[in-house]
């Protein structure tokens, strides 16, 4: 009984995904490209890097990279806290 309700919910969610595919822009022709054309046109002069993806990650959107480095640091701190030795006596 519970399994059939869960299976029905999964099929409804999969139906939502298929409806979203039918209404999205076709593959290879994106619609709004003004910001990325500005990055490609002015990226080499303003930052001096040949790789536009690296210029976006570390210069135009460097604040997101600070957040990502902090998430990695917090995850490593959590793992080292959970798997320490010597504090297991009760």
């Amino acid at each position: 009984m519970r399994k059939s309700i869960a299976l029905g919910a999964l099929l409804i969610f999969f139906g939502f995904l298929l409806v979203a595919i039918m209404n999205i822009h076709s593959f290879g022709y994106p619609t709004n490209t003004a910001m990325d054309d500005y990055f490609i046109r002015n990226g080499q002069e303003q930052t001096g890097a040949n790789n536009i993806v690296t210029a976006i990650v570390f210069d135009y959107r460097g604040y997101d990279t600070i957040g990502e480095a902090t998430v990695l640091f917090t995850a490593v701190a959590g793992v080292l806290l959970a798997l320490r030795k010597g504090g297991e006596e009760e």
Partner: protein
Amino acid sequence: MKPMSVIVRTMTRSLYPFILLFGAYLVVHGHLTPGGGFQGGAVAASAIALAIAAFGGTKAYHEKTLALFESGGLLFFLSLGLIGMGVAFMWNFLAGSGSLFGDPVAYGSNPGYLNTAGTIPLMNIAVGLEVVGGLGAIMLAMGSYAFDEDKEVSS
């Protein structure tokens, strides 16, 4: 963990500097070719995984060395953002000026010069150090926890 056989240990001693060199190449050339801090750091962390698997956990590295790499990398990255605070936070103050990494680049295709792009190579090196330290510390903690306490399973 017990160390593995003689063939594995000899090949690890021969291959270990080349894997680290390839990871460092990917980190430093991040502004010219596909690559960067995170990708090069992951490749260099695979060399540390090879050393831990071949030699045993506690004989290869100390946990405090890898934790120092990780904290030092993140502090270096944050201080690079605070130096250019006169204009804005994380301002690229070395691009186009004449000093450390600052040659100007015109629009168009060029064969790729290493001396360009300002604070971006320094940020790549900082993030590479942090990823190597972080992933190495995770692998060392998981390996030595699961293998050294096989006699104490509480019910």
